[in-house]
Amino acid sequence: MELITNFLSGSVQIEAYLGLSLIMFFAGIYGFLSRKSLLMILISIELMLNAADINFVVFNRYLYPGHLEGFYFTLFTIAIAACETAVAIAIIINIYRNLNSVEVGNLDEMKE
C-alpha cells in the first residue's frame, strides 16, 4: 500500500526500479537459454532490451534530473528494437519456409 502511495506521490526508491530491471534482464537471459522456439527467444531478447531501457530512464531521472538525454536514448532504442524485431521475424519466417520448424535446435545446417 505504501509502495503505491509512494509511486503516486513520485517518491519511489531507485532500488525498486533497478530491482525490476534486474529481474526483467535475468528473465530474458533465462528465456534466451532455455526456450526452444525462435519466437520465444526473440521475446526474451526484447525483454533484455527493455530492461536496459528502464535503466536509462531511471538513471537519467535520479542522477541528472532536468536533463533529457536518457529519455531520448530510450526512444531511439525502442525504434531500433522495432526494426530489429521486424528483421528477426523476417528471418524466422524464411527459416520456417525452409525447415518447416522454428525450433532453435534444428538450426545446425552450417555445422559441417
Binding site: I29, F32, L33, I41, G105, L107, K111
Partner: protein
C-alpha cells in the same frame, strides 16, 4: 630509314592475327595473308639493302645505322637493355637472306601444306619465326639478340613439333629445344661475364675497338684462362648449340621430323646460321681479345664439317643427308670465321664465311624444297623408294641438279665462289687446314651426287601412282632460288660485307680454285660411276668397310653416348636420389604438417555444435567469470 621498323612489326602482327583467328578463316585466306606480309617485308628488305649499300658509305667504310634504339629495361646507370634496329653490312645481308628464303618457303607451303590440318597454325608459326629471326639479326645489343635467340628456339620447337600427333616429331621437338637451351646457358653466362666487365650490352660499344671498355678485364683470369676467353668461349657454346656444332649437333638431324618447308627455312637457311652470325657479330672481340678461342672455333668447325660429311655419305633418308650436309656446310662457315684475320686481305675468311652463308642459304633452301617436292610426289623419305624420277619431275630435277653443282663447288654456280674463298683463307691459315677442307669439299660433292643420282637416276622403283611434277606454287620458289643460285656467285660480295666494312676486291686464287674444282669433279665422277646405273659396288664397299659403314650410319653413336650419359648416369645417380629426397623429405614434412593440423581440427570439431544457445551459455559463463575476476581480484 624509319620504315625498317615495319620489317619487324608486320610479321608480328601477322602472327597475332593468324594465331588468334585460328580456324575461323579458310586456310587459303590465312596462307595468303602470311605470304602477302612476307612479300611486303621482302620488298622492304631489298629497299633497305639498296638504300644502305648505296648511301651509307663514308670514306670507303659502311657506317652503322641505328634507326631505333629504345631503352626497355634499366638496371644500373650503365647497364640497360635496349630494343632497337641496327643496320650494318651483315645485318642487312641477313635481312635479305631471311626474307627471301622465308618468302619462298611461304609460297612453297601454299602448295605443299595445302591439305594439312592446322594450316593457319603453320602460317602463324612461320610468321613468328620470321619475326624472331629478323629481330635477332637487327639486334642493337647482345641481350636483345639473346631474347630473340630464345624466341627463334621456341618457334623452331613449335614447327618441328607441327605434327604433334606423331610421337617422333614430339620427341624431336623436345630434343631440339633441350639441346639448344642447354647450349644457351653457356651463352647467357657468357653475356653476363662480358657485361659484368664491360658494363654494357651494346654492340656498338663492345665492338668499337676502344680498349677502355675492357680495361677491367686486364689480368683477370679464371683457371688459367683469361676472362675474355671464358666469356667469348661461353658465348660460342650458345652459337654452337644453334648451329649444330660438334658435340651439340644431335638435334638437327632429328629436327627433320618437321614439315619439309620448315626444314628448308629454319634448319637449313636461317636459324642454324644464327651461331655463325653471332660469331661474326662479335668478331672484333674474338680477333682482339681471344684469338685462341677463334682458332678453337676453326678446329671445332673443321671437325664437325668432316664428321657430318662422313655421316652424310651413308645416310639413306634424303632429308637426313641434307641435314648432315647442312651441319658440314655450317662447319665451313665457322672455319671461315675461325681462320680469318681482321681487315683487308687478312679478313678474307670473314668475308668468305658471310658469302658462303648467303649462297648456302639459297642453294640449301633450294635442295630442301626440291627434296620436299620429291617427298610430295613419292610419299617417302627413303632413297631406295625413289630412282628414275627425272622423267616425271623435270623442274625439280633441273633445279636440284643446279643446287647440287653449287654445293659441290662447280663454277660458275654460287657455291664455287664462296667455298673457294673459304678454302683460300684456310690455305693461308695453315696448309693442313686447307687440305682437310678440300677433302671435305670433295666428300660434299660425292654425297650430294650420290643423293642426286639415287633420287633422279638409278633403278626405277615401283610407285603406287605415277609421280608428277608439283604445282605452280611449289615450282615457282624452286625456279627462283635456282636462278639466284646460278647468278649469286657473281655478286661482288667483297664490296658489301667485309670484316672492317671497307671494300675488298675478291681475287680468285687460281691454284686453290683448280684444285678444289678438280677434287669436286673427281668426286662427282666417282658418284656417277657408282650410282647413276644400279651397281653392286656400293654394297660391296659397305661390306668391306662394314665397321666404318655401320658406325657412320649410326652417326658414330653420339646419340647413344648422350642417352647413356643422361639416362644411365644422370638419371640414376643424380635425379633418382633427388626425387627420393623430394618425395620422402620435403614432401613428407609438408604432408606431416598438414596431417597434424587435420588431426587436431578433428579433435576440436565438437566445439562447433551449431547450437546457438550453447554458445550463448558459454558466453554467459565467460562473462560472469570475468565479472567475478574484476570484482574479487
Amino acid at each position: 630509314m624509319q620504315y625498317t621498323l615495319l620489317i619487324l612489326v608486320l610479321p608480328l602482327l601477322s602472327f597475332i592475327v593468324l594465331g588468334l583467328v585460328d580456324s575461323k578463316w579458310s586456310p587459303k585466306v590465312a596462307g595468303t595473308i602470311g605470304t602477302l606480309v612476307l612479300g611486303i617485308i621482302t620488298a622492304l628488305s631489298y629497299l633497305t639493302a639498296w638504300e644502305y649499300f648505296s648511301m651509307h658509305q663514308v670514306a670507303g667504310v659502311y657506317e652503322k645505322v641505328i634507326p631505333y634504339n629504345i631503352e626497355w629495361l634499366r638496371f644500373t646507370e650503365f647497364l640497360h637493355i635496349n630494343l632497337g634496329i641496327l643496320l650494318d653490312p651483315i645485318s642487312v645481308m641477313m635481312l635479305v637472306v631471311i626474307t627471301t628464303v622465308s618468302f619462298m618457303v611461304n609460297i612453297y607451303s601454299l602448295g605443299y601444306m595445302v591439305n594439312e590440318k592446322g594450316f593457319e597454325r603453320y602460317y602463324a608459326f612461320l610468321s613468328l619465326f620470321t619475326f624472331s629471326m629478323l629481330g635477332l639479326v637487327v639486334a642493337t645489343n647482345i641481350f636483345q639478340m639473346y631474347i630473340f635467340w630464345e624466341l627463334v628456339g621456341v618457334s623452331s620447337y613449335l614447327l618441328i613439333g607441327f605434327y604433334y600427333t606423331k610421337p617422333s616429331a614430339v620427341a624431336a621437338a623436345k630434343k631440339a629445344f633441350i639441346v639448344t637451351r642447354f647450349a644457351d646457358l653457356g651463352f647467357l653466362i657468357g653475356i653476363l661475364v662480358l657485361s659484368f666487365y664491360s658494363k654494357t650490352f651494346d654492340f656498338g660499344i663492345l665492338t668499337s675497338g676502344n680498349p677502355s671498355v675492357f680495361a677491367s678485364t686486364v689480368g683477370v683470369s679464371f683457371m688459367g684462362v683469361s676472362v675474355m676467353s671464358w666469356a667469348l668461349g661461353l658465348i660460342f657454346i650458345g652459337g654452337a648449340g644453334k648451329s649444330a656444332m660438334f658435340p651439340l649437333q644431335i638435334w638437327l638431324p632429328d629436327a627433320m621430323e618437321g614439315p619439309t618447308p620448315v626444314s628448308a627455312l629454319i634448319h637449313a637457311a636461317t636459324m642454324v646460321v644464327a651461331g655463325v652470325y653471332l660469331v661474326a657479330r662479335l668478331f672484333p672481340l674474338y680477333i682482339v681479345y681471344a684469338p685462341d678461342v677463334l682458332h678453337g672455333i676453326a678446329y671445332v668447325g673443321a671437325f664437325t664439317s668432316l664428321f657430318a660429311a662422313v655421316i652424310a655419305v651413308v645416310q639413306t633418308d634424303i632429308k637426313r643427308v641434307l641435314a648432315f650436309s647442312t651441319i658440314s656446310q655450317i662447319g665451313f662457315m665457322m672455319v671461315g670465321l675461325g681462320v680469318s684475320g681482321n681487315g683487308g686481305h687478312e679478313g678474307l675468311g670473314y668475308m668468305a664465311s658471310m658469302f658462303h652463308l648467303f649462297t648456302h642459304a639459297m642453294f640449301k633452301a633450294l635442295l630442301f624444297l626440291g627434296a620436299g617436292s620429291v617427298i610430295h610426289a613419292v610419299h617417302s623419305n627413303e632413297m631406295n623408294h625413289m630412282g628414275g624420277l627425272r622423267k616425271y619431275m623435270p623442274i625439280t630435277n633441273w633445279t636440284f641438279l643446279i643446287a647440287c653443282l653449287a654445293i659441290a663447288g662447280i663454277p660458275p654456280f654460287s657455291g664455287f665462289f664462296s667455298k673457294d674463298e673459304i678454302l683460300s683463307a684456310c690455305y693461308e691459315f695453315s696448309p693442313y687446314m686447307g687440305v682437310t677442307m678440300t677433302i671435305i669439299a670433295g666428300l660434299t660433292a660425292f654425297y650430294m651426287f650420290r643423293l642426286y643420282f639415287n633420287i633422279f637416276w638409278g633403278k626405277e622403283h615401283k610407285h603406287e601412282h605415277t609421280p608428277h611434277e608439283s604445282g605452280f606454287a611449289m615450282a615457282l620458289p624452286l625456279v627462283f632460288l635456282a636462278t639466284v643460285t646460278v647468278f649469286a656467285g657473281f655478286i661482288p660480295f667483297g664490296h658489301f660485307v667485309t670484316s672492317d666494312r671497307a671494300n675488298y676486291n675478291i681475287e680468285l686464287d687460281t691454284v686453290v680454285a683448280s684444285i678444289s674444282v678438280l677434287v669436286a669433279a673427281c668426286s662427282i665422277a666417282l658418284a656417277t660411276i657408282l650410282y647413276r646405273k644400279e651397281s653392286a659396288v656400293p654394297k660391296k664397299l659397305a661390306t668391306t668397310f662394314s665397321g666404318l659403314h655401320s658406325a657412320a650410319s649410326h652417326r658414330f653413336y653420339i646419340d647413344e653416348v648422350y642417352l647413356f650419359i643422361t639416362k644411365k648416369i644422370i638419371f640414376n645417380n643424380i635425379s633418382k636420389p633427388l626425387a627420393w629426397f623430394d618425395r620422402h623429405v620435403i614432401d613428407a614434412s609438408m604432408n606431416g604438417m598438414a596431417g597434424t593440423t587435420q588431426w587436431f581440427s578433428l579433435k576440436i570439431k565438437s566445439f562447433q555444435s551449431g547450437q546457438v544457445q550453447q554458445y550463448a551459455y558459454v558466453f554467459l559463463l565467460g562473462t560472469l567469470a570475468i565479472a567475478l575476476m574484476v570484482i574479487f581480484i
